[in-house]
Symmetry: none
Subunit: 417 residues, 2 copies
């Protein structure tokens, strides 16, 4: 059964020729402590021009006081109530690096990590080993560990210390606790089933055996031993099976494309059935030129484009005010080209969650929202947290934003007679 | 099964060293009729200083248009959705005067009242008889009425015309209609079971017999006959058994203390498992010095302090603008001492419901909310109804306030990956 707002959208969605640009500046919301927020401080002539014709508002991602992860934050933006729909990070990472998951498969995120002599974790990321070393280690582990019981084990490099583990076999459950203890100085936890089903017990058993063997292999590998600190064990997080999600495109009657370079965000877009615009993923960082190039070549094939900007969040987590400002300004410079490439009728700009510089973490603060379209009430003010307080959109929740953009795009029929 | 927000809080609450001060100015919200509200008119330098560093917002107690009693208003503030959790006033009064209720007991609020010759109620409070007379009447009634059927009857003075009745025995139900007709000129109603269970039928039968005998006793008592108007009957309201409430402290991982002097508020705090700070209850009225003294001696033993101010509501009910202003100013003068005693990291100030002076009654109007903490967006404006309209907190509901203070106190973990 569909939840709000997807139940309403399924009932009211109509075809139209309009285009919706849905920009997620990851972690954009901030808090000014004795000064300005990054959004206030940034020089954003292009967003200012857009804001001149836009409604502003605030949006709470999940519920007041709740600081969401990027998964729940994005699900809410895409119209999936995260209090109802949940998905493990392992699935998002697997989808994000392009894997397909079958119904008998379980995915997990792995970290290469460092165990100290006393059996506690001394580095949860093994000094953020380079991706090339990750690829070497994965190749060796895959050679040594192909099967546990009647379960196939497949390993994939994500980047740096991160990899994806896929278990494939009969009777595997998806509810198993993370083995990452969450901070250094503690021993890794055993994989423990979160329910009493034999399926979750089996997955936990296989994972524990995988971790045991992987630790043994890594302990003896010269490539691992040469690195300081040595990647001599693995931590497993976000175990899950592919959940059964209603398809975004079918419900909204919009062909939806995603422009995102980081696996997590590519994964959540694929999870709901969006197509990924083909982007040259070589290089690192925001890769704005590659994203714009993909938009120029393909955006007009879609009705709805999800455009993701990552580094606003990263600099928030680093407590780097100037860095966050610079990413906002970089996005602002790219905005005219993005608008020209897609020619959207409706533009929404917000974030999945706030990542305030003073907090260096995801937070619960409502997000500023900018909505431009042919029929919005024009607030005529710059796009800042403070101006959004008294904007025409009022204070909504992330799950409300999809119906709002669809209404503004002429894609929702009247409700009732 | 827990309801929102307690289900989320149960999942996300973490221990921390932070302290939360939760101030309830009872009935604070008001409506300006051609002038200012009491909050606007009051001279509040200390709240103004707090507001300078605070987020403001509006909060609807239960649902738009719903004017709640103090019970539902407080339950919502404490994170218990009053549309789901309900409790009879009899239970709150019983807990509030220090009684414990067993699972086979039923509590009700009683009023001494005056019957006219024609059998209608001519005064629902028997001219607000003094507490001393109440105590005499209760002693005589208790002598005469100890047991009805196999049910023990216990009577306790609350104050003035109000008493508490506890029935103790096998097979008693808690769902029985009030006998108070609600206004003068009508006959008292019989106690009627609200369900068809034999338990509620038994409670109703016992209550009707109690009322019959009490009326007979009072009719002949010289102490009662001497008073004008004579307290010659009793009205019974708020019949209920102790509901099974999730424990506030267990769910929030905060040790919670209550600073309140009126029984009703002490009762609702005890109902959810808060501890009452020991207060010298001699004297009458707001008893601010006694409350501050309790805070100085004990507040630091707690993570969360609920601090209740009653008279803002009383003056609202009396339509006394200047009186309401004076209570706000008295609270404001006490604020520095309160803050010094507890040194809270997070301060929230609001009310359980509005009691606008022009209405002389509880109302549905959203409450002004002030939230100060290390990570709030600073609105920098005075704490008034009008300024709260465009505050950074937006427009929330009372059940959202507990997650908000906990997030600001660093007591909620991230939701999802």
């Amino acid at each position: 059964m569909l939840r709000y707002p997807m139940n309403l959208i399924a009932q009211l969605a109509v075809e139209a020729r309009s285009r919706v640009l849905f920009v997620v500046l990851d972690g954009i919301g901030d808090v000014a402590v004795g000064g300005r927020t990054p959004l206030e401080a940034a020089n954003t002539p292009n967003m200012d021009a857009l804001a001149e014709e836009a409604s502003l508002g605030l949006s709470t991602p999940v519920a007041p006081g709740v600081a969401p992860g990027s998964g729940p934050g994005h699900l809410a933006l895409f119209g999936y109530d995260p209090l109802h729909y949940s998905v493990g990070r392992g699935v998002l990472s697997a989808l994000g690096i392009g894997l397909d998951l079958a119904s008998n498969e379980v995915a997990a995120r792995g970290n290469f990590a460092t165990l100290a002599g006393d059996g506690t974790v001394s580095d949860r990321r093994a000094g953020r080993i380079p991706t090339a070393l990750n690829e070497q280690l994965i190749a060796r582990l895959q050679e040594e560990i192909r099967r546990i019981e009647d379960v196939d084990v497949r390993l994939y490099t994500e980047a740096e210390y991160r990899f994806v583990l896929v278990l494939s076999g009969p009777g595997l459950g998806g509810k198993v606790r993370d083995t990452d203890p969450g901070r250094v100085g503690l021993a890794p936890l055993p994989a423990t089933p979160l329910t009493e089903t034999p399926e979750d017990a089996k997955t936990a058993r296989v994972l524990n055996e995988f971790i045991r063997r992987a630790t043994q292999v890594l302990h003896e590998l010269p490539e691992a031993r040469r690195h300081t600190p040595p990647p001599n064990t693995v931590l497993v997080r976000g175990v899950d099976r592919l959940p059964d999600m209603p398809r975004f495109g079918e419900i909204t009657k919009m062909r939806a494309g995603a422009v995102a370079v980081y696996p997590m965000y590519r994964g959540v877009a694929r999870l709901v059935g969006m197509e990924l615009l083909p982007i040259d993923l070589s290089g690192t960082g925001e890769r704005t030129p590659a994203k714009l190039d993909a938009c120029r070549r393909h955006a007009r094939e879609y009705d709805y484009i999800y455009f993701h900007v990552k580094k606003t969040d990263s600099y928030g987590e680093d407590g780097d005010f100037e860095g966050k400002v610079s990413v906002i300004e970089e996005f602002d410079r790219s905005l005219p080209e993005l608008l020209e490439a897609f020619e959207p009728d409706v533009v929404l700009i917000t974030g999945d969650h706030s990542t305030p510089v003073p907090l260096r973490a995801h937070s619960w603060h409502p997000l500023p929202v900018l909505l431009r379209g042919p029929h919005v009430r024009r607030d005529g003010r710059r796009f800042t947290e403070a101006n959004c307080r008294a904007g025409s959109l009022g204070h909504v929740r992330h799950v409300d934003l999809l119906p709002l953009v669809m209404a503004n795009a002429g894609r929702l029929a009247r409700f009732g007679a």
